[in-house]
C-alpha cells in the first residue's frame, strides 16, 4: 500500500494547497470590505461604495472557490485518511463540527444578503451582513487552526486502546502553538489580501485608470501591508520560538542544522545533502541563528542528529522556510518604500507600480511556503506523538487514488486559469467604467420597496 499512501499524500497536498489559497484571500478581504462599507456609511462619499462594489465581486469569486474546494477537503479525511478519524476523531470531529456550525452557515447565509440584498434590506442590515461574513471567515480560521495546532502540539486528551479521548476541551483548543499559529495565519491572510488589492489596483493605474478610487485603494492596501509585514516579523519570531520549544526537530530542519551546536550561524542559503546528512555550499552569518532563537550568541541548538530516523525531510522544510522569510522581507521593504513614496508624491512611478503588479500573488507564495514548513516539518507524524501519516492512510486501490488525483489536478488547473483570467478581465473592465454619479450611489443605499 506504499503506492496508495504516496498518491494519497500527493493528492492531499494538492487539495490543501489549492484550497488554502482562497480562504487566505477571503479572511482578510472581508475585513477590507467592512472598512469600505463603514467608511461609505460615515462619509457618504460614493468613492467608498465604488471600491466596495469592485472588491466584493472578487471576494465572491474567491469565496466560491474556497467553499467548493473546502467541501472536497472535508470528504478526503474520510476517503483517504480513515484512521485519522478513527484514532483522533473524538477530538478532530467536534472541532470541525464547530467550524461548520458556527462559521460555515454564518458566512454562507449572510453572503447572500451581502452580495445580492443591498436593495432589499435597510443599509444598516447590509453593513451588519458584511461584518457577519467577515466574522464568519475569521471564526472558520479559528477552528481550523485550533485543530491544526492541536495536531502539531496535542494536549488535553488521554489514549485508551489506541484511541484519543478528550479530557479538557479548553486545553485542546488553546494548545501551546495555537495563539502563535492563529496570529501568524491571520496576518498572512492580511498580507495576501493587501498585496492582491495593491497589485490589481496598480494594474488599473498602469492601464490609465484615473478615477479617485484606485489611488485611495492603493493607499489603504499599502498602509495595511506596511503595518502587517512589520507585525509579521515580530509574530513570526514568536511562532519560531514556540516551535523550538515544542518541535525542536522542525526548527533543526528549518535551520539546516545537522549536529547539535553552540553559536549556530544563520544560513542565508545552503544546499541540503540529505544522504550524507550535511550541507554543501553555505552562505552564513556567524552566531545569528543562536542569537535569534536563544537570544544568546553562544546558545545551544539541538541538531537533527538528536532525532535521527524521526525527523522531517530536511530539504523541503529548509528551502520553503527561506522562500517564506525572503519573500516576507521583500514584502516589508516594498510596502514601506511604496507607502512613503505615495505619501510624498501622491502617486507612484510606473516602475514601482510594475513591481506591485508582479507581487499581486506574493502572499500566496509566502503562505504556501509557510504551510509547507509547518506541515512537512511535522513529519513523520500526522498528530505529533500520537499518529503517523502512514498509519492514517486508506487501503483502497492505488489506481483509484491515481484516478482521483489526476481528476483533481485537471479541475484545479482549469479553475485556477479561469480565476486568474477573470481577475484580469474584471480589472480591465473596471478601467473603462465611468464614475458613477452621487445620485446613483444614494439610490443603491436606500431600501427599495418590496419587489
Amino acid at each position: 500500500m506504499e503506492e496508495t499512501l504516496m498518491l494519497s499524500r500527493i493528492q492531499f497536498a494538492a487539495n490543501i494547497s489549492f484550497h488554502i489559497l482562497f480562504p487566505t484571500i477571503t479572511i482578510a478581504l472581508s475585513w477590507f470590505l467592512v472598512y469600505f462599507k463603514v467608511k461609505a456609511n460615515i462619509t457618504k462619499d460614493p468613492v467608498w461604495m465604488r471600491m466596495y462594489r469592485f472588491w466584493v465581486k472578487i471576494f465572491a469569486l474567491s469565496f466560491a472557490i474556497g467553499v467548493v474546494s473546502g467541501v472536497t477537503m472535508s470528504f478526503q479525511f474520510g476517503t483517504n485518511w480513515p484512521q485519522f478519524m478513527e484514532k483522533v476523531g473524538n477530538i478532530a470531529g467536534p472541532l470541525l463540527g464547530y467550524e461548520v456550525l458556527t462559521a460555515f452557515f454564518l458566512e454562507a447565509s449572510f453572503l447572500g444578503i451581502m452580495l445580492f440584498g443591498i436593495k432589499r434590506v435597510p443599509p444598516v442590515v447590509h453593513t451588519i451582513s458584511t461584518i457577519v461574513v467577515a466574522v464568519g471567515t475569521s471564526l472558520s480560521a479559528f477552528w481550523i487552526l485550533a485543530l491544526n495546532s492541536w495536531m502539531q502540539t496535542p494536549q488535553g486528551f488521554e489514549m485508551i486502546d489506541g484511541v484519543a479521548y478528550p479530557t479538557d476541551w479548553w486545553a485542546i483548543i488553546f494548545n501551546p502553538s495555537f495563539p502563535y499559529r492563529l496570529a501568524h495565519m491571520l496576518i498572512a491572510s492580511g498580507l495576501t489580501a493587501s498585496f492582491l488589492v495593491a497589485g490589481i489596483t496598480a494594474y488599473r493605474l498602469l492601464k490609465g485608470d484615473n478615477k479617485k478610487a484606485p489611488t485611495k485603494t492603493l493607499k489603504i492596501s499599502l498602509t495595511a501591508a506596511m503595518i502587517l509585514t512589520t507585525l509579521q516579523v515580530y509574530v513570526g519570531d514568536l511562532h519560531g520560538l514556540n516551535t523550538l520549544k515544542h518541535q525542536p526537530q522542525k526548527v533543526a530542519a528549518m535551520e539546516g542544522l545537522w549536529e547539535t551546536e553552540s553559536g549556530v550561524p544563520l544560513l542565508l542559503f545552503a544546499t541540503i545533502d540529505e544522504e550524507n546528512r550535511e550541507n554543501g555550499f553555505e552562505i552564513a552569518i556567524p552566531k545569528l541563528a543562536s542569537l535569534i532563537l536563544t537570544h544568546e550568541f553562544d546558545g545551544e541548538l539541538k541538531g537533527l542528529n538528536e532525532f535521527e530516523g524521526n525527523h522531517p525531510p530536511v530539504a523541503p522544510v529548509f528551502y520553503a522556510f527561506r522562500i517564506m522569510v525572503g519573500l516576507g522581507f521583500f514584502m516589508l521593504a516594498v510596502s514601506w518604500i511604496a507607502r512613503i513614496t505615495l505619501a510624498r508624491r501622491n502617486e507612484l512611478p510606473n516602475w514601482m507600480l510594475k513591481i506591485l503588479v508582479l507581487m499581486t500573488f506574493s502572499g500566496w507564495i509566502a503562505t504556501l511556503a509557510g504551510w509547507y514548513v509547518t506541515e512537512i516539518g511535522r513529519q513523520p507524524w500526522l498528530v505529533t506523538g500520537v499518529l503517523t501519516v502512514k498509519e492514517a492512510a486508506t487501503d483502497i486501490a492505488p489506481s483509484n487514488v491515481m484516478f482521483s488525483l489526476v481528476a483533481y489536478l485537471i479541475t484545479y488547473v482549469v479553475v485556477m486559469w479561469a480565476y486568474l483570467h477573470t481577475l484580469l478581465v474584471m480589472s480591465r473592465r473596471a478601467v473603462e467604467v465611468e464614475e458613477i454619479s452621487d445620485n446613483e450611489y444614494y439610490s443603491h443605499t436606500q431600501p427599495m420597496k418590496e419587489a
Binding site: 466584493v56 465581486k57 465572491a60 469569486l61 469565496f63 466560491a64 472557490i65 467553499v67 467548493v68 473546502g70 467541501v71 472536497t72 472535508s74 470528504f75 479525511f77 474520510g78 476517503t79 480513515p82 478519524m85 478513527e86 476523531g89 473524538n90 470531529g93 467536534p94 470541525l96 463540527g97 464547530y98 461548520v100 456550525l101 458556527t102 460555515f104 452557515f105 454564518l106 454562507a108 447565509s109 449572510f110 453572503l111 447572500g112 444578503i113 452580495l115 445580492f116 440584498g117 443591498i118 436593495k119 434590506v121 484511541v163 479521548y165 478528550p166 479530557t167 476541551w169 484516478f403 482521483s404 481528476a407 479541475t411 479553475v415 479561469a418 477573470t422 478581465v425 443603491h444 419587489a451
Partner: protein, 335 residues
C-alpha cells in the same frame, strides 16, 4: 451529559434531518441548474437569479451532513466512503465546477458565458446523478455486481428527477410569465416520472434487501407512509392543473403558486421517512448499527451543547434570508 445510546439516537436523528434539509434545499437549486435552458439567455439569467442568494448556504447542509456522519459515526463514515470513493469523486468535481460556473458566468468575458452556462447545467446533472448513484449503492449494501450497478444508475436518474421536480416547483413559485408557464409544463412531466420512480424504488428496495422487507411487513403502521405519499402526488397534480388552467386566463394571477413546492416537500419528507424506517437502526446496511459505530460521549456531548444553541440560530437566520429574498425574483446585481 447524555449516554452513548441517547447520543446515537440524537446524532442519528440530527443527521437524518440534515440530509433531508440538504435534499430539499440543494435539491431545488441542483434541479434549477439541470433545467437551465441553453437557448434562452433571459430565462437562464432569471433562473440563476432565483437561486443566487441561496445555493451557497444550501450546499453547506451537505458539509454538515457529512460532518455529522464523520464526527458521530466515524466507523460508518470510513466504511461508506471507502466503498463510494469514485462516485464521491465524481460528485465533488461536479460540485466544484458547478459552484465556480455559477460565479464565473456573470463575471467572465461575455463570450464565455455560454460555456459557463453549459458547465453549470451539466455539472448540476452529474452531481445529482452521482448522489443518486451513491444512494442506490447504499441501498444494495455497496454490492458491485451488474444488477446492483444498474439499480444504482436508475437510482441516480431517480434522484435527478426528484431534484428536477422540486427545482421546477421552486421556479413556479419564484418566477413569472413565460418561464413560469414553462416550469408548470416541466413540473407536470417530472411529477409523473417521479411517481413512477418512487413506485419502482418501493418495490425494488424490499426485494433486494430482506431486512428491509422484514421491517415493512412486520410493522403495518409503516404502510401509512406510502398511502400518504400517493395522496401528496395526487394533490400536487390537482394543484398544478389548477394553476395551469388559471395561466391561460390571466398570467398575473399567482395565487397558490407555492402549492407545488409545498407538496413536493411533503413527498420528500414522506419518502425520506420511509427510507430511514427501512434501515433504522442500521447505518451501514447489514454491517453496522448506529449503536456500534457511535463516537465517544465526551466528544459528542461537547458538540451537542453548542449545536443546541447554534442550530436554532442557523434556522432563524436561514429563515430571515428567505424572507429578505421573498417574492418574485429580481435580476441579480452584485453590490
Amino acid at each position: 451529559m447524555f449516554g452513548q445510546e441517547a447520543l446515537a439516537l440524537i446524532f442519528g436523528g440530527l443527521m437524518a434531518l440534515t440530509i433531508l434539509l440538504y435534499a430539499i434545499l440543494d435539491g431545488y437549486d441542483l434541479g434549477v441548474g439541470m433545467l437551465l435552458p441553453l437557448e434562452n439567455d433571459k430565462q437562464a439569467d432569471e433562473m440563476i437569479a432565483s437561486i443566487g442568494p441561496f445555493w451557497d448556504a444550501n450546499e453547506t447542509w451537505l458539509v454538515m451532513a457529512m460532518g455529522l456522519l464523520f464526527i458521530a459515526f466515524p466507523l460508518a463514515h470510513s466504511m461508506v466512503f471507502k466503498a463510494l470513493y469514485l462516485p464521491t469523486l465524481v460528485m465533488l468535481i461536479a460540485l466544484i465546477i458547478r459552484g465556480i460556473a455559477f460565479d464565473f458566468r456573470a463575471k467572465a468575458l461575455f463570450t464565455h458565458k455560454p460555456i459557463w452556462d453549459r458547465a453549470f447545467k451539466y455539472a448540476s446533472l452529474v452531481a445529482s446523478i452521482a448522489q443518486g448513484y451513491m444512494l442506490g449503492q447504499y441501498v444494495v449494501g455497496f454490492e458491485q455486481n451488474s444488477t446492483a450497478i444498474l439499480f444504482s444508475l436508475l437510482s441516480g436518474i431517480g434522484v435527478a428527477m426528484a431534484y428536477s421536480l422540486i427545482g421546477t416547483a421552486w421556479l413556479i413559485m419564484k418566477c413569472e410569465g413565460d418561464l413560469q408557464v414553462r416550469a408548470i409544463r416541466w413540473f407536470k412531466i417530472a411529477l409523473i416520472v417521479a411517481a413512477i420512480g418512487v413506485l419502482l424504488v418501493s418495490i425494488v428496495n424490499p426485494m433486494v434487501n430482506s431486512d428491509v422487507a422484514k421491517r415493512w411487513f412486520n410493522t403495518p403502521a409503516y404502510w401509512l407512509l406510502p398511502v400518504l405519499c400517493v395522496a401528496c402526488f395526487a394533490i400536487a397534480y390537482v394543484e398544478i392543473s389548477k394553476i395551469r388552467e388559471r395561466k391561460w386566463q390571466d398570467t398575473t394571477n399567482d395565487e397558490r403558486c407555492w402549492a407545488p413546492f409545498l407538496w413536493t416537500v411533503a413527498i420528500y419528507v414522506l419518502c425520506f421517512t420511509g427510507f430511514c424506517l427501512s434501515f433504522y437502526p442500521e447505518i451501514v446496511p447489514g454491517k453496522l448499527t448506529i449503536w456500534e459505530s457511535v463516537a465517544a460521549p465526551q466528544a459528542l456531548n461537547f458538540l451537542l451543547w453548542g449545536a443546541m444553541i447554534v442550530i436554532p440560530t442557523i434556522l432563524a437566520y436561514t429563515a430571515y434570508s428567505y424572507r429578505v429574498f421573498w417574492g418574485k425574483v429580481s435580476p441579480l446585481q452584485y453590490y
